[in-house]
Amino acid sequence: MSGPYLHQDISRRTLLARAGQLGFLGTAAPLAMNLASAAEAAALGADDYRALVCVFLYGGNDYGNTLVPYDTINYSRYARIRGGVAFQRKDLEKTALTPIRPQTLTDNLQYAFAPYCPRLKILFEGGKLAPLLNVGSLITPLTLAQYKSSNRALYPLPPKLFSHNDQQCTWQAMGSEGATVGWGGRLGDLALAGNDHALLTCISAAGNAVFVSGDKALQYQISPEGAIAVKAFREPEYGSPAISEALHQLITQQRHHAMENELSVLARRSIEMEGVVNGALADINLQTNFVPVPHENPLASQLKIVARLIGARKQLGVKRQVFFVSLDGFDHHSDLMAKHADLMAKLDEALASFYTATVEMGVQRQVTAFTASDFGRTLANNGDGSDHGWGGHHFIVGGAVHGGQYYGTAPHVSVDAEDQVGQGRLLPSTSIDQYAATLARWFGVPDGEMAAILPNIANFDRGPLGFV
């Protein structure tokens, strides 16, 4: 509940601002245009459009209360282990899931979505959403004995397990904090040559994220309102054209100092792309209501601008795009029942609206969204929350998804089975690399390129997981 923002008028005017209105901006080098020709990466040879959208749940999503054991036997195990953070079984009736084709899971598990996810249930039962069970960071497949082994040369562990920042980075870039190339960015590297605007290949609507940073592909940042124009160029107010021109020169000039120069590079990119992006977005207005219940949903706002950019794909001349959006606040050490509910409701609303928007634009088979998170959490409770874990459950949503059934291996509902490392911290049975490889193949990456994107993929069964 913060007060009114100072500059509510800025966003309004930004939306009205359009490309090419200022003469002196035209002299800036068409930086982004040059990137495409500079890219030497293999083109994906795409003649259609495809977009991958990573939906990152920052903080480590609680898998136990996302897909909840619903059959009576497993539910009672769940309720016993979860104590004060368990749902009532009756509250799960409306979101209990029935696979499209009968499927037998571990211990005959049946799941329900968290009660706040009615729209995700509809997507599942309509075959547009696939859950991938117990996926997480691994370098090689591991059994519990191998996990406990001291032979780390033979059974290496992902570095810095259970640590937020490092496992976020592992999910996004297969390396701990400090990595500068994400696997979404590597997909972008392959797509650069096919896009007129190389800079619009990898886009984050959620601030800096290594996921969308490639070897060559840069990450472009967009705000929910679109690209942001430097207002002083068009409305000098108390300034003057001379002040505006000096400002433009100052913030875009080449500098000898590396950090100063990077600021100038960013400013040039910001200015140049604002005209291109807002120009293309001007005609894209979606009927889909992303916030059916009036409240703040930052994930829905981000997915809405992603949908509008996808809507502008022809104007922008892009064939392959990788997007990053996120929702914060999943580190539910306490008050899990109330706070997780709120976030799951936002996720439900945002993902379902986004899918609806792709249907509205007729691109539902060309757009695949998938979730990721720092890690799963413990199944054991700490009174009113859960702690950092490892494997977790994730979703893939889209018209090309073979949904309505589960992928991966369902974990036992337990705190001492062989598929977890204590307190219900899941030992992943599917690796991020396998998850990513399946999405990458759909995106158009040939098998021969896969090892360059996912260095550990050779350690796993190379077959795609089949969810898309």
């Binding site: 640590s163 107010e237 108390y238 100052l250 590396a258 700490n382």
Partner: protein, 543 residues
């Protein structure tokens, strides 16, 4: 907005005699605090860096955040449930950042707030502003004390208890499967004391016999340590319960925000704890267990280089040499009188290190750090003067990067601060050189434009009734060269090149402001000058 007292003897000392130039003094001051008032520049030039630090260490802290809130009636129990609103938490911290005297202590506290992180964002329940004010006051009070004392206060702080869940943390219960909450146990090690990897005294990672890094702790250490932090909750002893007719439960008063959390031995785990080589026997009383745990962390050899390197990054440079880190770590380990953890010694080591004070080499393409948005605003405000007619300082959360500053104090998105000490901006020559630039984590296409748009309004019209006065500059506002030179010294320590100052002065001259021009025109010029300087890459990178 100079804050030093005029009567200090050094003020009378003649300036320009010492070896320290005006620009060097300003450069030092813009690291040690937010701004470089003329009085401080003169003091540093006359008496030296270390003497200036000695003076700052003697200045008692100014009004506390808690007292300010109460003076401004933010403790009022009103029907609109003001007691649940976070808003005054932002007013409180902006008042502290922009208006309270004792800049160096506040600057140090702000650096500490980026190491020991809590954020107003998720703080809910009664009196969020008081939770944040008590937290801020703790950092301001502790800024010139000992790290060990600060660590204990941080651990038991009411807001930290909410943020990392020590509040309400219960001992294990085998019957129900309940385990202690691990959040604080993990982050107190990973972020507040020792970090993830064993370090050499110079901050580089130690390696095992096979050349691999060595973890400082395991998940097992965390699960053990978590028991130490069980049994705590807010202390309601001094709290009054006020019945009101608009809700069916009483409103509680805000003393629990200020008082350290209280231990309930019946909820505290009595299991033996073994972590990081320390052993706490079963049935050790909670208070003693806490002492052993915090002593263990405090005496870990990692703390000096881990903490010291990050303080260098906050105040001086993103990429200190290992030798510089080692010198600061040595000061942490021993202040020269055998005391470990003396923060005064740490600030002195950080700010007066030969590497920090060496003249900037224009050939060095990687020197310094990007100024973070909060520091840009604070530095400008304290330099040109800011006046709030109502005294309420109603500046809100400025976190949004598309239409606001892009950062707000005590509003970090997570316990990992606004940016990570190891952040590498991809596709830059900084990355190619294997260097880091933490503040670049906030810099992107959106924030670049959003920041300039925010400035365009702020530097001319202010924010609500908080307005720039430009008092120190009005008398020469008709002289563009002098305006630019003055801003160059006071905001950028003379680091704007002649080309840049000429570019700005020429643009300002086109406004044709004369001595006789109306005040509005002079303010237009001074605002334009501020906008240009604060947007210039040469200013934005503090070298």
């Amino acid at each position: 907005m100079a804050v030093l007292v005029d009567s200090r003897p050094a003020m009378k000392a003649s300036i320009a005699q010492g070896k320290i130039s005006e620009a060097e003094a300003a450069r030092f001051l813009l690291r040690a605090q937010f701004s470089a008032p003329d009085a401080d520049i003169a003091f540093v030039r006359a008496r030296g860096f270390s003497a200036w630090l000695d003076e700052q260490y003697k200045i008692p802290r100014a009004q506390t955040g808690v007292d300010w809130l109460t003076e401004h009636h933010h403790d009022a129990i009103t029907k609109d449930a003001h007691y649940f609103w976070p808003t005054a938490g932002d007013y409180m911290i902006w008042n502290q950042m922009l208006a309270q005297p004792g800049e160096m202590r506040l600057r140090a506290a702000y650096a500490l707030s980026q190491f020991f992180v809590i954020s107003l964002n998720p703080i809910d329940g009664f009196w969020p502003p008081y939770i944040m004010a008590a937290w801020w006051d703790l950092l301001v009070d502790g800024a010139f004390n000992n790290f060990r004392d600060l660590l204990e206060r941080v651990t038991l702080n009411a807001g930290m208890g909410m943020y990392l869940n020590t509040k309400g943390n219960l001992k294990e219960d085998k019957a129900s499967g309940r385990e202690p909450d691990e959040n604080y146990a993990r982050e107190v090690m990973q972020l507040f004391t020792i970090g993830l990897r064993m370090l050499n005294p110079n901050g580089t990672e130690k390696k095992d016999a096979n050349g691999r890094p060595i973890d400082t702790y395991s998940q097992d250490d965390i699960m053990n340590l978590a028991h130490v932090f069980t049994g705590y909750d807010h202390d309601f002893d001094r709290v009054k319960h006020i019945n009101v007719d608009w809700q069916n439960y009483p409103v509680i008063t805000h003393e629990f925000c200020v008082d350290p959390m209280k231990l309930d031995p019946s909820k505290h785990s009595n299991l033996a704890v073994n972590f990081c080589g320390a052993s706490i026997p079963a049935n050790t009383p909670g208070k003693d267990a806490l002492k052993i745990a915090l002593d263990t962390l405090f005496h870990h050899p990692n703390v000096g280089p881990f903490f010291g390197r990050q303080m260098i990054q906050r105040l001086v440079t993103s990429n200190p040499s290992p030798a510089y880190v080692a010198r600061v770590a040595a000061a942490f380990d021993d202040n020269g009188q055998g005391v470990r953890g003396d923060l005064k010694a740490v600030w002195r080591a950080v700010l007066t290190d030969p590497e920090a004070l060496a003249a900037h080499d224009p050939a060095d393409r990687f020197a310094g750090k990007l100024r973070e948005p909060v520091l840009r605003l604070t530095s400008w405000a304290r330099t040109v003067g800011l006046h709030c007619a109502s005294g309420e300082w109603q500046i809100h959360n400025l976190s949004r990067s598309d239409n606001s500053l892009g950062q707000s104090p005590l509003r970090s998105p997570s316990v990992f601060n606004f940016f990570r000490p190891g952040f590498v901006p991809a596709h830059t020559s900084i990355a190619e050189a294997n260097l880091v630039a933490p503040e670049f984590q906030l810099q992107n296409e959106t924030s670049t434009a959003g920041y300039i748009n925010f400035l365009q309004w702020m530097v001319r019209w202010g924010y609500g009734d908080v307005k720039p006065t430009y008092d120190p500059m009005r008398e020469f506002a008709h002289d563009p060269d002098r305006v630019v030179d003055w801003l160059n010294l006071h905001l950028a320590a003379g680091q704007l090149s002649p080309e840049t100052t000429k570019l700005i002065a020429t643009a300002l001259a086109s406004k044709m402001v004369t001595q006789e021009s109306p005040d509005e025109h002079k303010l237009d010029l001074l605002a334009s000058a501020s906008l240009l300087v604060l947007s210039a890459p040469e200013y934005l990178v503090q070298k």
